[in-house]
């Protein structure tokens, strides 16, 4: 049996089998076992068969074989022969798809000359037009691919066809008429785009346009499991590219599009607006100038009478695109386009603030920054009217509305012409005209508005402040004197104005000052700083108004160019205050301001290694004051909170210093330059005088700032054991004890090598200390255990596998089980000292590691635990979960869900409940199927926690969290699961609507509103 016979047999039964037969033939051809002539001979009989089906299958066979033959097997002559032969088969009308496939295969195996490409195109048009006569998509598709390939590779040849035959293009267009399949349409659009963009289409423009626009708007919706992955968006994009491809379409495109803009369908309108925008961008200024006014008249309607926000946005894009395109041409058309816009916007501004004046403002601000020409024309057209309207306005609301537009115009001006420090889109060209002309008037109006309007006119004054800020930024507009006036007004507001409402004005004023400092640092230093300083006394008489001034002044440190000056002034003020015996409150405020300023400039400190001036000027004096006992030691420094501030200031400066610089301080870590031997001080001497203990707080912050290479003032083992002993001392104040415990964590985390870390706990666990001995367990030891673990776990050390089980065993400890359980939440809790900035060793995977070592063991032990100790496991679990990002937990959630639900029943453990609700809410959001089967018990428990219960009152925070979590349920679980609970939830939540706390009521209202919608969900799906 010949290959073709086998192929015919298999073709209807098993396509893959048939393909393999064709492949076999191809291999034989390649190897020379089969001559091409023989193959054709065998085929002859079937090609001429009476039976259409056999003819179709035999050409399919040929196409498949050709597809499998490797390149270079067929000679040019053979390929030409085959080409002629296949092409002649297209007369048949059947098997056209296979013919096209065969031709494509031949083309891939050797490039054609131009003439051949032309012949193929002509033959296709002659024999197979229109293509829609072939009912099968699979027949038409290869033909379209063939034509697509012809256009891609033989552009000139086909173009010659068009140039030499007047009717070619109309036949070409008609050929694709009536195509409906989305896959084919994708090809048709891209085929037709070639003549559109490259050929001289002349009289055929309308036909060509109609050929694609007939499909507008695309309403195709892909089937649910669409294997081809063509979306409506793909089709829309290609169609839009066609419409915008040539300016020749303009006479047809704009009227047709504007006609469709009247559609009631939002989707159609959206497509129209997008098509208009891209057409305007492509058609060029000459063409667009003919339609610009017509388009404006149509588009403005969408903005002035907003139907959907995004439609208005698209229409604005269209208007801006027109202005953009016209800016590329001569000034006449641009003028003609902007004139009606300016006129109309001016009219709407007259009755500001209304919906339409807001729309006018949007139009103006959207267009204003597209080019320098547009900016100038708009400003010149709008500003005169605006200021006239402003002067005659009879109410504040109107003035505010007008100024809002003005601010937008200044911003557009900055976009185009730049500010003092950078140039705008127009490059370095100097701004001219309109804005400069109104400079003095604008400055006066804004200054006057901000200065004299009543304080309760918040929104009006905010606009004035914003206007002044923008005005001061405009490149080469205001003189330094004028900017100085603005600064003066702003600092007067910050310093002298009575506080009102949310203090939005004060906040805006100080932020404006920071921004102006970025533009003109020296003017701000000259004008504003003396005013601030004058408000800060060297010594205070118990008055307290200066804190607000200090806050504002510290904020100035946000601006790099004035940072150094801010710090310098604050430092001088601090020295003066101490020497004048100022009150503790004032000293603390000054220290806070220094710390705040340093935090804001910490980036600058890190980049600049030369921080030694800050070390000499700030850190060293502070440390000496801290440890001294004479008059240089302010009374405020006896307070632990003050020392915390001092420590933090030192930390932020020292931590960016080099190891060498740090070593100078490291040796004074505990002595703090007081000249007493280290051994007589804490933590080495527990019985030191009480004032010496407090400086441990400063030492902790210093230790935190050290690099891990910096040498400690004593052997590390000795330091650890001293700290362990020291922290157990019962007379320590809470801040000192907490600071010392953190030192323990810091030392272990930073200064042990990875190898030493594995055994670092051995001296503590062995006799005589026996840290983990259950009988010896007591609160101080529990604290030590957690402090040590904290340092270790951040490094993901393998020793955790040995240490964690001991900790887990303690959860069933009869006396301290609960305390240990609560301690679990300290393990992963973020700590502001143990951080990367403080050179701590923090492994990226430490949370995963601790989770994997702890959580599965807790769930396991929970099942076996006695009834009294079960709650300890729940507490421990939530203590871990509350600090974990949910993606770590997500895989284990199914095994945790029952524990989480039971956590909601615990009495008096509010943090536990809160953490459990948090995890349940994340589970609902990310993995709702896990919760589905527990819906009932979850809902009833959340309800119980959302309502205040007299017997075990939950705090408002938990009640509100329960409401918020409950609100997620209808969104995340299936309707049939949720529906049965609707009545119950809505009824029970009525009690929460009357909660004593506003926070809870607000959450309950939202939650209940969501649940009330539950039964409506079915019928509003459109």
């Amino acid at each position: 049996m010949s290959d073709i016979q086998q192929f015919l047999l298999e073709y209807d039964r098993n396509k893959r089998e048939a393909s393999q037969i064709a492949q076999k033939s191809a291999t034989r051809l390649t190897d020379g076992d089969l001559k091409l002539l023989k193959l054709i001979e065998e085929l002859g009989e079937y090609f001429n068969s009476e039976d259409v089906a056999i003819r179709v299958k035999s050409i399919a066979y040929l196409a498949e074989v050709l597809g499998f033959v490797p390149p270079k097997v067929l000679s040019l002559q053979q390929r030409n022969l085959l080409c002629d032969f296949v092409l002649s088969r297209t007369e048949d009308g059947d098997g056209i798809g296979s013919c096209a496939k065969a031709l494509l295969a031949l083309e891939e195996r050797g490039k054609w000359d131009g003439e051949r490409a032309q012949t193929i195109m002509e033959t296709l048009l002659a024999n197979t037009s229109p293509l829609r006569q072939y009912k099968q998509q699979s027949e038409r598709y290869p033909v379209l691919r063939l034509i697509d390939a012809l256009l891609a590779k033989y552009r000139d040849a086909l173009r010659t066809l068009h140039d030499s035959q007047p009717d070619f293009l109309s036949r070409f267009i008609a050929y694709f008429d009536g195509e409906k399949d989305p896959r084919n349409l994708m090809l048709v659009f891209s085929i037709l785009r070639v003549p559109m963009t490259e050929w001289n289409i002349g009289a055929d423009a309308q036909d060509l346009f109609d050929a694609v626009f007939n499909y507008f708007p695309i309403t195709f919706r892909p089937p649910p499991d669409d294997p081809y992955g063509i979306t409506a968006q793909d089709l829309k994009d290609r169609l839009r590219e066609c419409i915008s491809s040539t300016a020749d379409f303009a006479p047809y495109a704009f009227p047709a599009l504007l006609d469709k803009l009247d559609s009631t369908s939002m989707n159609t309108k959206r497509d129209v607006l997008q098509a208009i925008t891209s057409s305007v961008q492509e058609y060029g200024p000459r063409t667009v100038s003919l339609y610009s006014i017509t388009l404006w008249d149509a588009l403005k309607f969408e903005i002035l009478n907003v139907q959907e926000e995004d439609l208005a946005e698209e229409a604005l894009n269209g208007l801006a695109a027109i202005a953009q395109t016209l800016s590329q041409g001569t000034s006449g058309p641009l003028n003609a386009y902007l004139r009606p816009i300016i006129k109309e916007c001016n009219e709407h501004l007259e009755d500001a603030p209304t919906k339409q004046s807001q729309a006018a403002a949007r139009i103006v601000s959207k267009i204003a920054n597209v080019s320098p020409d547009v900016t100038n024309l708009l400003l010149a057209g709008i500003l005169p009217t605006m200021f006239t309207l402003f002067q005659s306005a009879d109410n504040m609301a109107k003035r505010r509305g007008l100024l809002e537009v003005f601010v937008q115009l200044i911003k557009a001006n900055i976009d185009v012409y730049g500010d003092w420090r950078s140039t705008g889109s127009a490059g370095a060209s100097a701004p001219k005209g309109a804005l400069a002309q109104f400079r003095d008037q604008a400055l006066e109006v804004l200054l006057h508005g901000l200065e004299t309007s009543p304080v309760n006119n918040v929104s009006y004054r905010l606009v004035c402040a914003d206007g002044l800020l923008q005005l001061s930024k405009v490149r080469e507009l205001l003189s330094e004197d004028d900017i100085g006036k603005i600064i003066q007004l702003l600092h007067a507001i910050v310093i002298h104005e009575e506080s009102f409402g949310k203090d939005e004005i004060k906040e805006s004023a100080i932020n404006s000052l920071v921004e102006i400092a970025h533009q003109k640092p020296q003017v701000v230093i000259d004008k504003a700083f003396p005013a601030f300083m004058a408000q800060l006394p060297d010594t205070d008489e118990g008055s307290s108004g200066h804190v607000a001034v200090l806050e504002a002044f510290a904020k100035m440190a946000n601006e790099e160019d004035v940072f150094d000056t801010v710090i310098l002034r604050l430092k001088n003020k601090f020295s003066a205050a101490v020497s004048q015996n100022a009150s503790s409150g004032y000293i603390v405020a000054l220290l806070s301001a220094i710390l705040y300023a340093l935090t804001k400039g910490s980036n600058k400190l890190e980049q600049d290694p030369n921080t030694s001036t800050y070390y000499q000027d700030i850190v060293l004096p502070l440390l000496k004051r801290t440890s001294s006992a004479d008059a240089s030691h302010p009374e405020a420094f006896n307070n632990e909170t003050t020392l915390d501030l001092v420590g933090r200031i030192c930390n932020i400066v020292v931590r960016s210093q080099s190891t060498e610089q740090q070593e100078a301080i490291a040796s004074e870590l505990y002595t703090l330059f007081r000249g007493t031997p280290q051994a007589e001080l804490p933590p080495f001497n527990i019985s030191a005088p009480p004032e010496n203990h407090k400086t441990m707080i400063v030492s902790t912050h210093l230790l935190a700032s050290f690099r891990k290479e910096t040498r400690l003032p004593c052997e590390i083992e000795f330091l650890v054991s001293s700290l362990v002993n020291y922290t157990q001392h019962s007379d320590l104040s809470i801040p000192v004890r907490s600071a010392s415990l953190r030192q323990l964590s810091l030392v272990i985390n930073k200064f042990y090598s990875a190898g030493a870390l594995k055994t670092c706990m051995d001296p503590l666990t062995e006799a005589p200390f026996e840290l983990f001995h259950p009988e010896k367990l007591n609160p101080p030891r529990i604290r030590v255990i957690f402090a040590c673990l904290k340092g270790i776990l951040l490094r993901s050390s393998p020793v955790l596998a040995k240490l964690y089980p001991k900790l887990l065993d303690f959860l069933s400890h009869p006396k301290y089980g609960a305390a240990i359980a609560h301690g679990f939440s300290t393990l992963l809790q973020p700590d502001d000292l143990i951080t990367k900035q403080n050179h701590c060793q923090i492994s990226g995977l430490h949370k995963q590691k601790s989770f994997a070592l702890l959580v599965p063991n807790i769930t396991q032990a929970f099942r076996e635990a006695s009834a009294e100790t079960k709650r300890n496991y729940l507490i421990a679990l939530s203590g871990i979960l509350r600090w974990l990002p949910f993606d770590i937990v997500i895989e284990e959630v199914p095994s945790l869900i029952l524990l989480l639900l039971q956590s909601l029943d615990l009495k008096g453990e509010d943090f536990v409940k809160e953490a459990a609700i948090g995890t349940l809410a994340s589970t609902l959001a990310e993995k709702p199927e896990v919760v589905q089967e527990h819906a009932g018990s979850l809902i009833s428990r959340l309800l119980a926690n959302s309502v205040l219960n007299k017997e075990s009152p939950t705090p408002a925070r938990v009640r509100a969290a329960a409401c918020r979590c409950l609100m997620l349920i209808p969104d995340k679980l299936k309707l049939e699961v949720v529906l049965p609970y609707r009545r119950q939830v809505c009824r029970k939540l009525i009690a929460a609507l009357d909660d004593g706390k506003r926070e809870v009521r607000s959450a309950a209202v939202k939650c209940r509103a969501r649940w009330l919608q539950v039964d409506e969900a079915g019928d509003d799906d459109d």
């Binding site: 509103a1009 919608q1013 509003d1020």
Partner: protein, 197 residues
């Protein structure tokens, strides 16, 4: 298109001019005039670092003071309702105003029923949608306030050509109930309430 819009160009208030709870309440103001900028410098959660301290700290955050439902809270409930004609809130259109909301305490010591009176100001005097707006406010309050409040929604006197007729409609329980059975009307109301915060 929407040629039937009753008022195509209403006046709009700026959001920062709407009354809000924080404004003017001096409860959180510090006596030294500061804004609390420096409070964050020393983290608050340091105390959590100790296993023995947290059971104490969890309870002290919740004091027993009761925050009563006041006019501002009622305003917050209804000001974010959307206008049926514009994608704007009733608050920014000045349809609902804080001074037009009144809470009357129970009339006798034996009764627990308080009354919330809301007077609505239509944007124009012949607005036929006034009833719908009134209904929207009423539905929202009935869903969001506890049952001890009786809700009374009216058109502000002199702001509407047929205010008495509309008030009659809004006050008539049976007519309100019948209106809520109407599917189209419910659709409009649902859309209005969907922007509520």
């Amino acid at each position: 298109m929407d040629v039937d819009k009753q008022n195509a160009n209403p006046t709009i208030l700026s959001l920062s001019d709407l009354p809000s709870r924080r404004r003017g309440s001096n409860l959180n103001r510090r006596n030294d005039g500061s804004t609390g900028l420096f409070d964050g410098l020393i983290p608050q959660y340091s105390h959590l670092n100790d296993p023995f301290e947290q059971s104490l700290s969890s309870s002290d955050s919740d004091d027993d003071s009761v925050e009563d439902i006041d006019e501002q809270e009622v305003f917050d409930l209804i000001s974010s309702i959307s206008d049926p004609e514009h994608p704007l809130s009733l608050g920014s259109l000045a349809v609902v105003n804080l001074p037009d909301i009144h809470i009357q305490p129970p009339s006798s010591p034996h009764s627990s029923i308080s009354t919330v009176l809301v007077e609505v100001t239509p944007t124009i005097t012949h607005c036929s949608l006034a009833t719908v707006i009134g209904l929207g406010v009423r539905v929202r309050l009935e869903q969001a306030l506890p049952p001890r409040f009786r809700v009374d929604v009216r058109i502000k006197k002199g702001t509407h050509s047929t205010d008495e007729a509309v008030n009659k409609q809004l006050g008539d329980k049976e007519r309100v109930a019948a209106a809520l059975e109407n599917g189209t009307l419910m659709g409009v109301l649902r859309k209005m309430l969907s922007t509520c915060e």
